[in-house]
């Protein structure tokens, strides 16, 4: 009986296997590289003990960031407000609302409200808020449109590449000091931002560190 399968068929399964592996590997690598988020924390939106609504407080009521995050321009940390800060208003407004019970409990018991931390830099990163907000870097650059969020989520990657993007070209991001806490403010155009940014970088002598010691100690 003649050979049903030609000789090359002996190697065919191996070739098919290798081919499939390569294709599969390429697909996996491609998806991993191109289709997954650069930074896994982006989109992190945990449930908070109290469903604090930034859009309500900031956009509707017009509160300034610094009413609650009082020390953002004075400290490396942007502090989360103490229960006593919430109670300044909420001892009158919604004074008995069930949703605010954790705040009242904290205020009365002395126990902190366990807010879930969303934006987190690693321990070896010494990020300083005051150095940024006092020099024309707005909250929105790192935290996204917090003013429009009903529930806060991790909007930007906060990766080292993101830091360097701005540290290398601050003129693309820097804005007038009175617009730092105005999260809705936008430059008229890219060109306008660039022109303004370049003026600020020159006039304020902006020279953000790009070497290790700027952030790692």
């Amino acid at each position: 009986m003649a050979n049903v399968f030609p000789k090359w068929a002996n190697l065919a399964p191996v070739k098919v296997l290798i081919g499939l592996t390569l294709i599969l590997g390429t697909v996996v690598a491609g998806v991993t590289y191109y289709a997954t988020p650069k930074y896994l924390r982006v989109g992190y939106q945990p449930v908070q003990p109290v469903a604090f609504d930034h859009s309500l407080h900031v956009t509707q009521l017009g509160m300034d960031c610094r009413y609650c995050h009082t020390f953002v321009d004075r400290s490396e940390h942007s502090n989360v407000p103490a229960a006593s800060v919430c109670m300044n208003c909420h001892n009158q407004v919604l004074a008995n609302d069930a949703k605010l019970a954790p705040i009242r409990d904290s205020y009365n018991s002395g126990e902190p409200v366990p807010w879930v931390k969303i934006h987190n830099t690693p321990d070896y990163v010494y990020f300083n808020h005051s150095a940024h907000v006092n020099r024309g870097v707005s909250c929105v650059h790192c935290h996204g449109q917090i003013n429009e969020m009903e529930t806060v989520y991790h909007a930007k990657p906060l990766s080292m590449a993101m830091c360097l993007e701005c540290h290398r070209n601050p003129e693309n991001f820097i804005r007038p000091l009175d617009k730092v806490y105005d999260l809705t403010w936008k430059p008229e155009s890219k060109q306008a931002q660039l022109e303004m940014g370049e003026t600020f970088v020159h006039d304020w002598d902006v020279n953000p560190p790009q070497s290790c010691s700027g952030c790692h100690r």
Binding site: R74, P114, D205, R217
Partner: protein, 1145 residues
């Protein structure tokens, strides 16, 4: 800044977190606890406020609790932000708060400023408001913060046998004592305290004495500062002590005194000395002060001396008398007194020419010279020193006599006598540790056992606690209210930075309770407030708070001026005890044991402080141990001198034992005996510079009962305190010197962790020195030294450019390596003035405290793995003609503080395979710990050997368990770590195993200053940090301001000025690596008339001999430095090296 607060009930979460800081009582919710809650934290805590210790621990507790949830599985850990419930005033999370307080000492407090992060103290700095110390501290003050977080401290009061005593029990016991003895006028009650400067304590004692007039009050301090006071009291009839103004002194003579680095007022002394020694340029060289030192030991003061004479301590009174006679004679003082002194000094065996020339020099600087005698010398010596200083016209210029408040406390021997006769029913010991550190002949422990009840107030569970029926746990000074006075008498507060971490009480609280008035939750606040009012007459809050803020009230110092006795020769000849001046002849069979406090444990009180124990002694470089220091001459007698090779009876060759083997000092053990039969065993160490038959022993070791650090886990004789106890040789009649001793070498050897095995600079130009006369005539001498003077110029054509430009642009020396761009507007650099550095070790400890440097234990130090970022190198030099195989008997000593030099062309960076160590744009050589993979290539390529490698997880593993790795205890999870981690500086990474670390120029301080400047600048370009804003930790603490730091592109900065000095040089500059840390050459100011005068410092003479300059020179050099005509032939001529010191015995 009055701090009132109330303690909230512990919350559920708090109770569910780690319980370490809470008592077992509370865990059980015992009813007594609730009753005593008010008493539990009696002190006003750090203003800080409500965010206090508890808040901090609350956070810690919570995060620990949540860590468990988050880590169970591969999920991202959930982290929490726990804000305050009520926002406290003044606290800004992330911004440290600084409080002024003072570090109490027996004879004078040191004013300090404490950095607190989230209300936990992390770093101690001196308080610059007190000008005499200029914001500096000594090493002990730096390290005292570690004691606060010592897990081995007494956390709860204990009864005999170790059972814990509740607060209620302690309160009842003290109340009962108070009741019992106020009834019978205090008869049968004895108090033993440590000397203190606190006016509040004095007031409490006086009140106590009123209600209990028959009570005995005694004070004891093992290293006493009493003889100078006794002498002045004998002369003037009222209590005085001398205060030295070394900054005015052009000529100083010390008699067995280490006034620059030990003693209660060393900061003022060394600071003033540094000022008088500092030389700005060649024109000032002749204004430099001159120090003569006669001593038996090899002290740091002796190392600074321009002329040093070795004489044993027992000879010292006679030498002092001779010197005194000569000085008084030459200064045309009281001839009768001079004659009397001459008679007394007859027994002294010293070179008369040395005495005469030294005396002549001092006498020719009337009003500008000063004589200082060691505190341990007999009263008679201090009397004659008073007379000598009077003859020199020193009073009001270089010395001041301050009147001390009356102190009626008796001394320890009187108390022991009362104990022995059974007069004492109850003995209350407050502080100290007399069962360990009382003179051996008093047999304190036996005497104390005769008292029916012993109550002890202590920070540790120590030897004395074994005797006590009740040991009351003591608070740390950073936890309590109190006050104190500086050595000069300036009044300063002791403020709490934090609530007491444990159920402890302060000295003032115990005394107040004894007086029947137990203090409430504010502790001694009201008492201090009342004392303040009494002192200053000011009642208002504003002045009190201002005092707390500034931390010192200088006008309220002790009264200056002492009535001069009208009698002839001040009546001194009649008052002198001639027996004190007998100079016994010493020999190898009749040695003198000189007993000193240790630079590690002091008198034993810092025995459990890892920083101090591991910090190398500045002279011996020994860590973790005390040794029996013998002179090279005595070493020969004992036959322990290192020889390269020795042959045994079988004819086989061996390396000698008493030498370094693989970097470990192998020391012979020896038995020391005194004529009265007491013996001590300890390892022998050969110390150049000692008087021939003086043996130096240091106190504070060999504790029978102490914490885990003092009882090192890895120590060969487990369970025993490290080192050996010298107190058996301490006698009440003569606590600091014992004579008639003998040494027998034993057959054992012992490994000593010595961090520097080589003592010679081998004629290299590492430390560059010259006499000031040479500097005057040849200001460029530094440039003519070192290989770079003989090689093509380091900077090429750029060498003529100013430093400010060289440090940024430049042809970078023509390097093939891609050099970093120094583009930042400020470029940092450091300068260290070797001329004023006294090697006091404060910088090493300040650096350790600031930069979270771990303690690694003796075992690791023996392997050469010490972690200190600053290494204080000590070199001996004996001149080019000395034998190369012998240990010099009387060397010159030179010190150099060595840390990362931040080379602009750093060799370490070129070999790092992962770019973990790179340059930043402001000129710092930075370490990115996260990138480091631990190849250690950088350390190998570092010419200065300043990089330190974390061989183990020194922070995560228990000492002694390093080798178990992950199988050992995880220190992070132990209760002890909860305490020790509180000290860590949050601005500095705590490094892990396998990464390299080194000096960062305190980059966290630089960045903090820069950011603060940016915050100020806002939308302006005022972004440059002004000079002086950034002080590195070592610079800040330096008592002599030897270290300067700042921007080297700005010609106005202090560091720029220093670097512009003609004495400025780079160590190993010829390598063309261009270090940012440079040094100013050391100058010596010898007197040409002295018999031990050398035309060049010995290191210099060695250098000149080695580099062949002595044999003619001048050809083939680069033009850098040598281009100048030789202004002085002296610098290149053969050194006229006179043999240094005459034989003494």
């Amino acid at each position: 800044m009055k701090r009132k607060f109330h303690h909230p009930e512990p919350t559920e979460r708090e109770l569910s977190g780690p319980r370490y800081w809470r008592s077992p009582d509370e865990l059980a919710n015992a009813p007594e606890f609730k009753e005593t809650l008010e008493r539990e934290f009696p002190e006003g805590a750090s203003e800080a406020s409500e965010q206090d210790r508890r808040q901090f621990l609350k956070l810690m507790g919570a995060s620990a609790a949540f860590a468990g949830i988050g880590l169970t599985g591969c999920r991202m850990p959930r982290r929490y932000v726990l804000p305050y419930s009520q926002q406290p005033e003044r606290i800004i999370p992330g911004v440290p708060i600084y409080y002024a307080t003072s570090f109490p000492g027996a004879y004078g407090s040191t004013p300090i400023i404490v950095e607190t992060h989230d209300a936990r103290p992390t770093k101690i700095e001196g308080n610059p408001s007190y000008l005499a110390y200029g914001g500096t501290t000594d090493g002990f003050a730096q390290a005292s913060i570690l004691d606060l977080y010592d897990p081995d401290r007494l956390q709860v009061s204990v009864k005999k046998g170790g059972a814990p005593a509740s607060d209620a029990e302690v309160a009842t016991a003290l109340a009962n004592l108070s009741k019992k003895f106020s009834g019978n006028k205090g008869s049968g009650l004895a108090l033993l305290l440590q000397p203190s400067t606190s006016p509040t304590r004095a007031r409490l004692l006086a009140d106590l004495k009123k209600s209990m007039p028959e009570m005995v009050v005694a004070e004891y301090e093992p290293v006493a500062y009493s003889n100078p006071v006794k002498a002045l009291t004998a002369i003037s009839g009222s209590t005085h002590r001398p205060l030295y103004h070394t900054k005015n002194a052009k000529r100083v003579l010390t008699l067995d005194s280490d006034f620059l680095s030990s003693g209660p007022d060393q900061l003022r002394n060394s600071r003033g000395f540094g000022k008088a020694r500092a030389v700005k340029d060649a024109h000032e060289a002749s204004k430099m002060n001159r120090l003569y030192s006669v001593e038996s030991t090899m002290s740091l003061t002796g190392a600074m001396a321009d002329h040093r004479l070795r004489a044993s301590t027992s000879q010292m009174p006679a030498v002092a008398a001779l010197l005194g006679a000569a000085i008084i004679e030459q200064a045309h003082g009281d001839a009768a007194l001079a004659a009397a002194l001459k008679e007394l000094g007859k027994g002294a065996q010293v070179d008369q020419k040395w005495i005469d020339e030294c005396a002549a020099d001092l006498a020719s600087h009337k009003g500008e010279s000063l004589v200082v005698a060691g505190e341990h010398l007999p009263v008679g010596v201090h009397m004659l020193v008073y007379a000598v200083n009077a003859a020199l016209g020193a009073e009001g210029h270089t010395v001041e006599y301050k009147q001390l408040p009356e102190n009626t406390a008796v001394e320890l021997p009187a108390l022991v006598e009362k104990l022995n006769t059974g007069e004492v029913d109850t003995l209350v010991v407050i502080g100290g540790n007399p069962a360990y550190d009382a003179p051996a002949d008093l047999k304190f422990a036996e005497a104390a056992a005769k008292a029916k009840t012993v109550v002890y107030h202590s920070y540790y569970d120590d030897e004395t606690a074994e005797l006590a029926d009740l040991t009351v746990a003591a608070s740390h000074y950073l936890e309590t209210w109190g006050d104190g006075r500086a050595f000069c008498g300036a009044y300063m507060p002791v403020q709490p930075m934090i609530l007491p971490l444990f159920k402890t009480q302060s000295e003032l609280e115990v005394l107040s309770a004894l007086g029947g008035k137990p203090l409430g939750e504010d502790g001694a606040y009201e008492l201090v407030r009342a004392t303040y009012t009494e002192f200053t007459g000011k009642k208002d809050d504003i002045s009190f708070n201002e005092w707390l803020t500034i931390g010192v009230d200088e006008p309220d110092s002790y009264k200056a001026g002492m009535p001069t006795p009208k009698m002839a020769s001040f009546g001194i000849p009649q008052k002198l005890d001639k027996a004190e001046f007998k100079a016994p002849a010493l020999s190898e069979n009749s040695l003198e044991f000189r007993i000193l406090p240790s630079t590690h444990a002091y008198d034993g009180r810092y025995n459990n402080n890892g920083w101090l124990m591991e910090c190398p002694d500045p002279m011996t470089k020994i860590t973790w141990d005390n040794v029996v220091s013998v002179s090279p001459k005595m070493a020969k007698v004992l036959d322990i001198t290192p020889k390269p090779i020795r042959m045994d009876e079988m004819g086989q060759l061996h390396m000698n034992d008493n030498t370094f083997k693989l970097g470990r000092e192998i020391a012979h053990m020896a038995k020391l005996s005194l004529p009265d039969g007491t013996t001590i065993e300890g390892p022998l160490h050969i110390q150049p510079g000692l008087a021939d038959y003086t043996v130096v022993l240091t106190l504070g070791f060999g504790r029978r009962k102490t914490g885990r650090v003092g009882t090192a886990i890895h120590y060969p004789k487990e369970g025993k305190g490290i080192g050996f106890d010298v107190y058996p040789f301490v006698k009440s009649s003569s606590p600091s010197v014992a004579t008639g001793g003998t040494i027998t070498v034993l057959d054992e050897t012992f490994q000593v962790a010595n961090t520097q095995e080589h003592w010679s600079m081998e004629g290299r130009a590492i430390i560059r020195e010259a006499n000031n006369t040479e500097y005057e005539s040849n200001p460029e001498f530094v440039k003519a030294m070192g290989m770079e003077a003989h090689s093509p110029p380091v900077l090429g054509t750029a060498r003529k450019e100013p430093l400010s430009e060289v440090s940024t642009d430049i042809p970078r020396g023509g390097s093939l390596y891609d050099t970093p761009a120094f583009t930042d507007r400020q470029q940092w650099g450091m300068n260290i003035d070797l001329n004023t550095c006294t090697a006091c070790n404060a910088c090493v400890l300040a650096c350790q405290s600031e930069n979270n440097i771990p303690v690694i234990g003796k075992d690791q130090v023996l392997r050469g793995r010490e972690m200190h970022w600053i290494r204080l190198d000590r070199y001996y030099s004996a001149g080019p003609d000395s034998s190369t195989t012998e240990i010099p008997e009387d060397p010159q000593v030179s010190f150099m503080s060595m840390a990362c030099q931040h080379c602009e062309l750093a060799p370490c960076e070129q070999v790092c395979p992962v770019n973990a160590t790179v340059h930043d744009d402001q000129g710092l050589n930075v370490m990115a710990y996260n990138r480091c993979v631990g190849t250690r290539y950088c350390a190998n390529n570092c010419p200065y050997k300043v990089r330190r490698f974390n061989f183990f997880d020194y922070n995560k593993r228990e000492r002694g368990e390093f080798y178990k790795g992950p199988l050992g205890t995880n220190y992070d999870k132990t209760e002890a770590s909860q305490l020790t981690r509180m000290q860590k500086n949050p601005d500095v990474t705590v490094r892990m195993r396998g990464v390299m670390e080194k000096c960062t120029y305190c980059v966290q301080r630089i960045e903090e200053a820069k950011i603060n400047q940016l915050v100020k600048a806002k939308n302006t370009n005022n972004v440059e940090v002004p000079d002086g804003t950034i002080k590195t930790a070592c610079q800040q603490v330096c008592p002599t301001d030897a270290i300067t730091f700042g921007d080297i592109t700005d010609t106005t900065t202090e560091v720029y000025q220093a670097k512009e000095s003609d004495r400025n040089y780079s160590v190993l500059g010829y390598l063309n690596i261009r270090p940012r840390t440079t040094y100013l050459a050391k100058l010596r100011n010898p007197n040409p008339k002295m018999p031990d005068y050398t035309a060049q410092p010995l290191t210099r003479a060695e250098y000149e001999a080695k580099s062949g300059h002595a044999a003619g020179h001048g050809e083939g050099h680069g033009d850098n430095g040598h281009g100048e005509p030789h202004a002085s032939t002296e610098s290149h001529g053969a050194p006229t090296h006179a043999e240094a010191t005459p034989e003494h015995h």
